[in-house]
Symmetry: C2
Subunit: 232 residues, 2 copies
DNA sequence: CGCTGTCTTGAGTCGGATCAAGATTAGTGG
DNA sequence: CCACTAATCTTGATCCGACTCAAGACAGCG
């Protein structure tokens, strides 16, 4: 949600709304963007969850990040040749906006363009944190950190239940590919977290049983996710 | 260099020049920005090399990226509390610009602001590539990829000699901390690359002896570093 | 000349990978 | 509502890439 980054005026909100008015429902697994292909559209994830990833010739996949409702898929692309793919993790509602239209729109609403660049900065902050995660932490810490991060991001858009549970529509294979671990090891690590009473993960739904202890274990602090809206 | 992202007008170049007119020389090891501290300045690296990194309580360090001449240190910071540190790898020339002044400047030169946001997109592309690197590749590939990337970035600013060598002012400890490997393993991996006749690394200077073969080994393609200047 | 930081090398260990198979669960169509 | 199939999850056994520890060799520098 862009409002995290800047208080928007009513007309801006309305304009955004009409820009994203044509939404379409897609099934889990649908690939929105193909690495190396071309796009002339910007996709806005209205409802559901998606992942960005890169594939290696050998078939290895690295998940680069998760998209949650309100996230935009690819203002990112410098050229129109995306350097990674985006696929849906769950059934999702998508608004598909022609790039041309988006460009014009942003010229009329420079404040929104500015908010988007803030969103990019948040992406950077998250990417750096992931790098630290994969580069320096062990399996347990990596998973814990990821869970803490997701919970924090989702809570900002009101997607965490009062009991602390939230949708996490990923299988163990996806967890493996975003932490740089093997599926088997993810499985065993999850069991440890479960046995330690830290989390519960069932039917694509994650409950953090002891947020305090999990955050400590992960070395998680939500500072990097806190974006101050500025320029009023 | 911002001109990678957009053809700038003479007055813009002149304005940038005067903005960055007061430069100062610092020694290798100098810490420009402290994680968790505060900054009211934007730093422009005019000459030399620097690294961004995060530290963990246990002393582990993850290097998040390298800065080369023309790179800007921290338009990045969403709040004024940097989430990582920046230190010089070599003696370097730095322009220190007050954030206020920078903000005003960008209001007068919106095209430059726009170029900066492009630069951020390049940062994102590099970060994603690093994530792939650390997450999925083995030691040899990681190092090779890093070297290919540095050479490509440096060649864009004319910092690669005609014999293919360039400054790489990092010790093995830094290589370890940016690839997520141990120093010892870096040492052995470097030896392999040397013995295979792929590289030569002496006195902080790297020569890629067989670019072709190294790129293949690394799975490197420079696509993600190619930024098309647009909006004329 | 003698630090101090950096690089090398060897030996032993371990976290996490791989391989292989069985158990569960979720979907599908009848 | 059940049978069938394909994912996904578990578990055990084995292996290996990379880590740690430890010590010696250089190199740059005041």
């Amino acid at each position: 949600m862009l409002q995290q980054f800047m208080r928007l005026e009513n007309d801006e909100i309305a304009a955004l709304g009409s820009l994203a008015s044509h939404t379409k429902l897609h099934d889990a697994g649908h690939i929105l963007i193909h690495e190396g292909g071309t796009t002339d559209y910007v996709y806005l994830l209205v409802e559901g969850t998606a992942s960005r990833y890169k594939l290696l010739p050998g078939g290895e996949r690295q998940i680069l990040g998760f998209l949650i409702p309100g996230d935009i898929c690819d203002v990112q692309f410098i050229t129109h040749r995306p350097d990674h793919s985006v696929a849906l993790l769950s059934r999702a509602k998508i608004a598909k906006i022609p790039s041309r239209k988006m460009t014009e729109f942003l010229i009329h609403y420079p404040r929104i363009e500015w908010a988007l660049s803030r969103a990019a900065l948040l992406d950077i902050a998250i990417l750096r944190q992931w790098l630290l995660n994969i580069g320096q932490r062990d399996a347990c810490e990596r998973l814990s950190h990821l869970f803490c991060e997701m919970k924090c991001r989702l809570s900002k858009i009101g997607k965490v239940e009062s009991d602390g549970s939230f949708d996490m529509p990923v299988n163990q294979s996806a967890l493996a590919d975003c932490t740089g671990l093997s599926i088997v090891h993810i499985n065993r690590t999850l069991q440890r977290l479960r046995n330690d009473g830290l989390i519960e993960l069932r039917r694509r739904r994650l409950t953090i049983l002891d947020p305090e202890r999990l955050a400590t274990l992960a070395g998680f602090s939500d500072d990097y996710l806190q974006v101050k809206p500025c320029r009023s």
